[in-house]
């Protein structure tokens, strides 16, 4: 499987990259990690005329806590995110997620920004970032703007980036006391997309859930927030009943398509199971357990 011909551009600065993107418009695609784009190109399902490789840009690969946020450079490789001490110590949901994205070799090239900007509902970061109430930084020649993750995913493989804009940073609010998170994913084998997965970030105060956000993977055309499931646990103590209610809600509010990973009925049911397990784990972590 050999990709079609294209012209390769390797800008050295973000400005250069944005200029190229501006000039080439829709004929160009951004090449970040390339782990989704290049296979599509090898099957000639994707045939961009120009590739703008962000690999040569400095300063877009970092993971650091700063001013109440975990800041992740868009070109940060998944493997570096997985290995980052701060992530392992303070962002369990993100650590869970980073460990189950594709396989270790793919994670050595795949980037966090690419995973998000691709806006594939089967990717793992969208749900996780929804649960974290993250925000992304978009840069364009005219300046930069912040997009709330809730507004970022606009359609199947479609995001809120304007033509000419480049995603440069993802920001996750630092966890408050009593916060905990977890990602639970059912996959057919290592490296597969989720049959269904749930990302849960919550906060437990005085034995009750004071804040909760839940994102779902690969059970809707657009990365989905399970607000119904969130409501089912908000203000509650984590009991079997409220877990069951959350699971039920998630099963109902998701909108999966049938494919080799399973029927709609199976995916709905499993989504409930994933949500339940992720909440249990998140709550346990919120309570100090890991």
């Amino acid at each position: 499987m050999i990709p079609g011909a294209f012209t390769y551009h390797s800008p050295r600065t973000l400005e250069e990259a944005m200029a190229l993107l501006g000039n080439l418009g829709d004929d160009a695609k951004i090449l970040a990690g390339g782990q989704s784009l290049i296979p599509a190109m090898r099957f000639r399902l994707a045939m961009p005329e120009h590739l703008i490789d962000l690999g040569g840009l400095d300063g877009l690969a970092y993971v650091r806590e700063d001013a109440g946020f975990l800041r992740i450079g868009a070109m940060t490789r998944e493997a570096d995110l997985e290995a980052a001490t701060v992530v392992q110590q303070r962002y369990s949901l993100l650590a869970d997620t980073a460990h189950v994205i594709a396989d270790p070799l793919v994670r050595n090239l795949a980037t966090v920004g690419g995973n998000l900007a691709h806006a594939d509902p089967a990717n793992d970061h969208p749900a996780t970032m929804l649960a974290y109430a993250a925000e992304v930084e978009a840069r364009s020649p005219t300046g930069s703007r912040t997009i709330k993750i809730d507004d970022f995913f606009t359609g199947l493989f479609e995001n809120a980036l304007e033509p000419g804009e480049i995603l440069t940073e993802i920001r996750i609010p630092a966890p408050q006391p009593g916060a905990g998170g977890a990602y639970r994913k059912l996959e057919r084998k290592v490296g597969d997309y989720a049959v269904s997965a749930a990302a849960v970030q919550l906060r437990v105060q005085g034995g009750r859930v004071s804040a909760a956000r839940i994102g779902l993977t690969n059970v809707s055309p657009v990365p989905l927030r399970a607000t119904g499931a969130e409501q089912a646990i908000l203000g509650q103590a984590i009991t079997d009943d409220c877990l069951a209610a959350a699971a039920r809600a998630a099963s109902e509010e998701c909108d999966p398509s049938p494919d080799l990973r399973g029927s709609v009925a199976y995916k709905r049911d499993i989504t409930g199971v994933m949500v339940r397990r992720a909440i249990e784990k998140a709550a346990a972590r919120a309570g100090g357990a890991s």
Partner: protein
């Protein structure tokens, strides 16, 4: 209709005199010191240094000057008429040299059709219509891989879609005919039976209990990590066709190419270099090979064709695809008295299975397995559908996996229905060790076995009764845990040539040994290793027989210009056939060596005895000549009137097949929430007779177990209702990784084959045959109390989930 009984009569009075009961031990026999490294030594593989340093040489590594590249245009329809093909844009594409269509091959003398191994016909390139998705439609030849890939995008084919025939049971209604090129307008290909129907119906009439189950053994793909490929070079000066190909049977392929192309056989050299896994997928001749050869004949240039993975998964021969309806008759005491099996074999668009030609359903009639059953009858029908042709092994002897899965599932279902432990049920019904050689009701002559010993050892090793206790406790806590047993019998090592041939070529195999004056040797064989380690095991066999250090013996295979003619490596036949040929050739050499030794020691031959690596004078062991002394003398000081040199050839035609066996026990835990099955433990006890290299045998068993796990839980080629393949990449065709694959626990018993010169049997495929039912039985064992009786493989989480739901409802 064929009766196996007729064909196997000669076994009852076999010249090699099958001994009665063969003793079973746990011991791996070692008779040579480690410097010689004969049988039984865990010798490090001689082939490994090149592989671990990236110096293996596979077909895609071959580069010839002026080489062109071939790529293939494939059909997006499962069934469609070809109205026209427009290659003008392709020919205008930079680098494209030629485009070849079915019409061109037809003009080239009917080369648009080729024979299959089952003497059916298969299109090379179509002229009228396509009959499966991803079928080869045209070939583009270009100056580079990339240009060829550009070219195929520019060949425009106008199709008129026809109704696909996907379901084999629908196909049997003949509403749409797949092969309208044939005279008989039907999709039914063949009907085949074995066993005694009347006697079988009789025992079913008298049965106290009849157990019936339908099951489907899915369509799967070998997915060797190296795909198929070829480099062909027609040298217009010498008129010689040099072919490098991914071939498990280079000699047979050379003969087929000679017959089909009409080139004289001495002008065709097939070289099968290092092969990146075969598992049966590299036995058939694929259209791509023929296109590559034709392209080289046409252009007189070297042509390289290497399949993409998606082509490999979507168009190359599949395995299995058997729809089975089985019935088992039992008496009141729980003794199996009869087995009645009807099966529909979905062959795809051509009968391109790789079975011996008299056996359209391979050795499926071995399906009475390890059990002493009074009467059995098996009937199989083959049918065409608009799916790719095939029916290759996937690491199993001809159709034995299907047979074993059926009988082992039936045994467990019967045990559960009787409310008894599946182990007890098996122990009661096993063929007893004193019954060997055992004649099965479908006519097989089992050479040796001790099924009780193997199962007992597996149960002890895994702590069977302890696990049953744990299961009972778990059940009380509503946790799902299952234990599954499979006590299989394999049948490997075809010939004997009286019954076994492929396209008329008898299934013997061969070895040729040449000992050089300095006591080093080269040995060539008619088989072809694809990872089995022949360069090491064959050397060990010869070391055992001749006393030459295995290190000093160079083993070669795969070049038809140098190796003796053989049928190749598949169906675990290498050790039973070529391995035996090596031993027999070595014994011929030994006979001559004895004469030379007698001459050198000035004694009579009768005064000599063999001792590991030398002939010594009886009673005076200090008077001796080593094999090296003798080799030197063979060229420098041989007796007057004796031919110089020390070499021999043997074409070994086995008197019978070998019947390796084993008992496997799987322990699974099931996630009741998701339906996921986790194999917690898996113990495999195998008996392949005398062991040549225990390390290599273990490796083969581990690999076979993972390839047994795969179809049990993960792998299946899935088509939609239009015959569209939905599992065309390794992202959807789920080959297990090191994470899904459990840590295998293996052990062995040793029950030598009475008729094999080394007492050895084949082993490479036993685990692929034995593992799936062990896992399936374990899953059903975990769910039986909830009313789940059977699950077809692959047992996906959703299947388990659905079964649990059904149970809850």
């Amino acid at each position: 209709m064929t009766h196996l009984d007729d064909r196997f009569e000669h076994h009852s009075d076999k010249p090699d005199g099958v001994s009665a009961e063969v003793a079973t031990t746990d011991e791996v026999r070692i008779r040579t010191p480690s410097k010689i490294c004969g049988m039984g030594h865990r010798m490090k593989r001689k082939e490994d240094p090149r592989f671990i340093q990236g110096q293996g040489r596979y077909v895609d590594d071959v580069v010839l000057p002026g080489m062109l590249y071939l790529d293939i245009v494939r059909s997006p329809y499962a069934h469609a008429k070809i109205k026209s093909i427009d290659a003008s844009e392709a020919l205008a594409t930079p680098g494209v040299v030629a485009v070849i269509t079915g019409k061109d091959l037809e003009a080239a003398g009917g080369l648009h059709w080729m024979p299959t191994l089952m003497s059916d016909t298969q299109m090379v390139l179509p002229t009228e219509k396509v009959v499966y998705y991803a079928q080869e439609v045209a070939a583009v030849v270009a100056t580079s891989r990339y240009a060829a890939a550009d070219g195929i995008e520019k060949v425009f084919v106008d199709y008129e879609p026809l109704d696909p025939v996907v379901d084999p049971f629908e196909a049997m209604k003949d509403e749409t005919i797949v092969r309208d090129d044939k005279e008989k307008k039907t999709n039914h290909i063949w009907h085949w039976e074995a066993g005694d129907k009347t006697a079988t119906d009789q025992v079913f009439g008298d049965a106290a209990q009849v157990v019936r189950q339908k099951m489907y053994i899915p369509r799967i793909h070998v997915a060797s990590i190296e795909t198929c490929g070829m480099v062909a070079h027609m040298d217009k000066v010498t008129g010689k066709l040099l072919v490098y190909m991914t071939s498990q049977a280079p000699h047979a392929h050379r003969t087929v190419f000679a017959l089909v192309s009409g080139l004289p056989e001495q002008k065709i050299q097939v070289i099968s270099p290092d092969i990146g896994g075969g598992f049966g997928g590299k036995v058939p001749v694929y259209p791509g090979y023929v296109c590559t050869i034709v392209a080289s004949i046409v252009t007189c240039k070297p042509i390289k064709w290497i399949e993409d993975r998606s082509e490999n998964l979507q168009a190359d021969s599949f395995a299995r695809d058997y729809h089975i309806d089985a019935e088992m008759a039992l008496d009141a005491g729980g003794k199996i008295t009869g087995l009645r099996v009807e099966t529909l074999s979905d062959c795809g668009a051509a009968d391109a299975a790789a079975n011996p030609s008299k056996f359209p359903a391979g050795m499926y009639s071995i399906c009475t397995g390890s059990y002493d059953i009074q009467a059995a009858h098996v009937a199989v029908d083959g049918v065409y559908t608009t799916k790719p042709p095939g029916g290759v092994a996937y690491r199993c002897s001809f159709r034995v996996t299907e047979a074993v899965h059926m009988i082992e599932r039936m045994a467990s279902i019967a045990a559960h229905e009787r409310g008894e432990d599946p182990a007890d049920f098996r122990l009661r019904n096993f063929i007893r060790s004193d019954q060997f050689p055992y004649r099965s009701p479908t006519g097989w002559q089992y050479d040796s076995g001790n099924y009780k010993a193997a199962l007992q050892k597996a149960m002890d090793m895994i702590g069977y009764h302890e696990l049953r206790r744990e299961q009972a406790e778990k059940r009380a806590k509503v946790e799902l845990m299952g234990i599954g047993i499979s006590s299989f019998t394999e049948v490997v090592g075809a010939g004997p040539s009286k019954d076994y041939d492929i396209l008329g070529i008898k299934m013997f195999d061969s070895a040729e040994i040449r000992i050089h004056p300095t006591g080093k040797a080269i040995a060539r064989f008619g088989t072809k290793s694809q990872g089995q380690g022949h360069e090491t095991t064959y050397a060990q066999i010869l070391a055992e027989e001749l006393g030459l250090p295995a290190e000093d013996i160079q083993v070669e295979e795969g070049d038809t210009d140098t190796a003796p003619y053989g049928l190749g490596t598949y169906a675990s036949r290498s050790t039973p056939t070529a391995g035996a040929a090596g031993a027999m050739a070595a014994r011929k050499i030994k006979a001559k060596a004895k004469k030379i030794a007698a001459h050198l020691l000035e004694v009579g031959e009768d005064d000599l005895e063999w001792n590991v690596d030398r002939f010594q004078v009886k009673g005076a062991p200090d008077k001796s000549k080593t094999i090296q002394d003798i080799a030197f003398a063979a060229y420098t000081n041989h007796p007057q009137g004796m031919e110089a040199g020390l070499e021999a050839v043997d074409y070994y035609d086995p008197p019978n097949l070998t019947f390796p066996f084993g008992s496997y026990i799987a322990v699974v835990d099931i996630d009741a929430g998701t339906g996921e099955v986790k194999v917690r433990r898996f113990v495999a006890i195998d008996d392949c007779g005398n062991i040549i290299n225990p390390m290599i045998v273990e490796g083969q068993i581990h690999g076979g177990l993972t390839q047994g796990l795969a179809p049990a839980l993960f792998e299946e080629i899935v088509y939609d209702e239009n015959g569209q393949n939905l599992t065309g990449t390794l992202a959807d065709y789920l080959v297990p990784t090191a994470v899904e694959s459990p840590k295998w626990e293996t052990g062995h018993t040793v029950t030598p084959s009475p008729h094999h010169p080394l007492g050895a049997k084949g082993v490479g495929e036993s685990p692929t045959v034995g593992a799936p039912p062990a896992i399936a039985n374990a899953v059903v064992d975990a769910l039986w109390h909830l009313g789940v009786r059977h699950l077809d493989i692959p047992i996906t989480p959703e299947k388990v989930w659905a079964a649990l739901r059904g149970a809850r409802a």
